[in-house]
């Protein structure tokens, strides 16, 4: 579990590179699960839990499908069943979860 809201600059830089690559490569995909299978997305997950604050910051900017990564990295799933498939609501749940832990 991530314990800091200030990831090291090298991690931030690596994350931004991967996130930009993922976004560009999957922007026209309709399936969140398919987008989460992209190698750049998997590489973000492989960066480990310290990347969670960076993902939450991305979610605050736009409700992109980072939810699978967050579940994998944290073991949590704060999205209510009724809000599954609704990215804005799901992002709000994750951001509230992150704020409660000092991660967002």
């Amino acid at each position: 579990m991530a314990t800091t809201t200030a990831p090291p600059p090298t991690l931030t830089s690596r994350f931004r590179t991967l996130a930009d690559e993922w976004r560009a490569a999957t922007r026209f995909l309709a399936s969140p699960a398919a987008a989460a299978e992209h190698p750049a997305y998997r590489a973000v997950v492989a960066l480990g839990p310290d990347v969670v604050p960076l993902i939450l910051a991305e979610l605050a900017d736009a409700p992109e499908p980072w939810f699978a990564a967050l579940r994998e990295l944290t073991g949590a799933d704060p999205v209510l069943p009724a809000d599954r498939g609704r990215p804005r609501a799901a992002a709000d749940h994750w951001l509230a979860w992150g704020r409660a832990r000092g991660l967002a």
Binding site: A30, S31, P32, A33, P65, A68, G85, R86, A89
Partner: protein, 169 residues
């Protein structure tokens, strides 16, 4: 003028009379757009997708037809324009659905391009004239003037299908 990204991804769009009509928005996708929903990602068998209760939760053309039937679509024969009806075309590759487009008044077709949300701009929707290939499964529904594509929002409190959230269930 289409962005370089759109021109690269869809090189025939200019010739097809395509135009961007809405800003990028990652909160809904092509299936949701066909269903008149702009706050959900409609996709089956996906932990981060919404799929209507009762529709098979599987990546098949039949499941897509069933999902869109939940908002009133019914089978029809082709993608030709029929006044008074909206149509949706389910695109598939090797039997696996890849996209859904919907027909606008006058016969033009409208697509939400994935969840397109690129930073620094992007293009959310395209409109073009091209009729979907014959291989597409086409279904139709009586025209709903309150669909977002038709430029009118459903008044608050009005009965019928809510356009801002998935059907209750």
């Amino acid at each position: 003028m289409l962005s370089p990204i759109l021109q690269a991804a869809f090189p025939d769009l200019d010739a097809d009379g395509g135009a961007v009509t809405h800003p990028p928005d990652p909160a809904y996708n092509c299936v949701a757009w066909a269903a008149g929903v702009t706050d959900a990602l409609w996709w089956p068998a996906d932990p981060d997708g919404y799929w209507p209760p009762g529709a098979p939760d599987e990546l098949t053309v039949a499941a897509f037809v069933a999902a869109l039937a939940s908002v009133g679509y019914a089978p029809c024969t082709d993608g030709g324009y029929e006044p008074g009806f909206e149509k949706a075309a389910v695109y598939a590759r090797g039997g696996v659905p890849t996209h859904v487009a919907r027909q606008l008044a006058g016969g033009r077709w409208s697509s939400k391009l994935g969840r397109d949300a690129g930073r620094g701009g992007g293009d959310g929707l395209r409109h073009g004239r091209r009729v979907p290939p014959a291989a597409c499964r086409v279904i139709r529904v009586p025209r709903n003037p309150f669909h977002p594509a038709n430029g009118r929002r459903q008044p608050a409190g009005r009965g019928g299908r809510c356009l801002d959230s998935p059907p209750a269930g």
